[in-house]
Symmetry: C2
Subunit: 372 residues, 2 copies
Amino acid sequence: ADPAALAAARAHQDSLTKPRGALGVLEEVAVRLAGAAAVSPPPLPAPAALAIFAADHGVHAQGVSPWPQEVTVQMVGNFLAGGAVVNAFAAQVGASVTVVDVGVAADLHPSPGLTVSKVAYGTADLSRGPAMTAGQVVAALEAGIAVARELVGQGARCLITGDMGIANTTASAALICAFTGQDAAGVTGRGTGIDDETLTRKVETVRRALRVNGLDGGAENGSADAPERTSAASPAAPEREQASAAGRAVPPLETLAAVGGLEHAAIAGFILGGAALRVPVILDGVIAGSAALAAAALAPDVVDHCVAGHRSAEPGHRAALEHLDLRPLVELELRLGEGTGGLLAHPLVCAAVRVMHEVATFDSAGVTDKEA
Amino acid sequence: ADPAALAAARAHQDSLTKPRGALGVLEEVAVRLAGAAAVSPPPLPAPAALAIFAADHGVHAQGVSPWPQEVTVQMVGNFLAGGAVVNAFAAQVGASVTVVDVGVAADLHPSPGLTVSKVAYGTADLSRGPAMTAGQVVAALEAGIAVARELVGQGARCLITGDMGIANTTASAALICAFTGQDAAGVTGRGTGIDDETLTRKVETVRRALRVNGLDGGAENGSADAPERTSAASPAAPEREQASAAGRAVPPLETLAAVGGLEHAAIAGFILGGAALRVPVILDGVIAGSAALAAAALAPDVVDHCVAGHRSAEPGHRAALEHLDLRPLVELELRLGEGTGGLLAHPLVCAAVRVMHEVATFDSAGVTDKEA
């Protein structure tokens, strides 16, 4: 973040006709975006473009979701037909919707609003080995970067993350464990609605995924059931190494390949792309939060460009946001995904920035300031 | 609330292409509004109209605010010139702004967007006796009802409360004590920014106001410093009686007259008017919350039509919302008033209702439902 822009934004906030600090969290959002854009006031974050990254998950075979896998492709059809909640919310806030197939387990019919960047027909089962190869994770990241570049090229001045993928909260929980060092039981939730028995199985699946992929930071590192990690991910780019719970360093791209999903990788790329273009990225729920952990591990400064749109009901989301030091704007117990929570935050982010462009100062409005 | 519409709205929510309950608090908002409107889905709550009720307060003389009283009229000028935060937020969400002078301590120049319904040049000092006469409180209520009727007549399908009045959080704290039985220390806050010494004085002022006006439910009832209440408020309409902390019944209109402000009374009327016209009313912060306590004491069913836009940083607001059993949609530590928190909630309320109009069902979209 640019220190001069941060300082200018804070001083500007204090000159406006309102008690200092009276806009609470929104003042900090506006100041942060000024720092990220390196200009005060920061540009208005509109128009907004939502990208819904869709993919399937091999771990679905472990019975971690009560929804059949084909619901992923059915919901993609629903998005493209305009019949989903995300479409209603996007219409409400005036955001465009782009659906990106990065790994749906079926071929999709071409359709306006659909970008096909399919890397694979779903991931491998992360509880039995790496979900993605090194090539796949890089391809998915690059797909996300390309979507960010295209949307900004078309005029978007705010990007919003969205996702669709039955069983993708399982991958998110595993990523959150790997990047924050939290235990699976604390961050694995009921997703879109599972019973106690399924939750127990889901927690065990996350634990097994971490162990099998050598991400649990424990003694199992190098044990028989840990696959040869270098075969799964050998990214060319230099990476910061991720300290696991026990202090063992695992490169972030390797972690993402091991227990992520193709949509998680694409969203990480989307965040990296938005940040590189200095456009704010509003994060949706736990899928985006876990993807942002990967993006931040690759390039910590991207977090400056991120706004946490909401906090979902998933317990892992809290851990992810705390690790990223982001405060969510909306907390309404949503647990839908799709980008719905990110969309709801967009008017709030716009309002925060608009204040810096439009509100009069004490001097200009002839309003008496508070007695010192 | 209409039981058939509530049931229909719940059933409709459960048929939509999303996991049941996945929209959290927003599902409940949409269902409540269906019950209030007696139709499912409920009408879209747009366009929205914000009314900012402005008035001054005799209790300002007690040193409860660091802001000079003339800031009320200066900020009214700022609203009318479009330079305040509330104008920026209203532009963001597409709401109209009407400023209503119900009691500013100065004559205002006529201006587009200004409605003059001045009842008095500010209230009397509530810490020395009743803030308003019975005639004044009724006139202010009627002014609020008239504004609601006029805005709905002009096409508004959602009303948002706003306020301006230096020292008005002192009146709100006193109202909240009187209507909820809470102690002054727990509900009196720093308003738009006061130091410890001023806060202590403000708490003492609220305590004195309750005692002087016979609203503390204690032994002071009928003591020398309690004025003759019947001279302060003799409403013609039959009222439910308000049980104070000690169980003594004080009619709600009398309570409002004793320790309220002219804008509190007008907002109570605005809520009553909106509810009578079956239009949702989004409540802003602690001023609206305390006014809603008065409205609810007069007619409990009005709460069905109210949505708590946000929860402010003022401690009394939490007590008011809990008493009303309303959950706020936005919690961003705002402490500005004007209607800013109510405006930010408007897109969320629209999104909640829009889902019921636009989202496909599992059947219509051909999406497989969750396994039972």
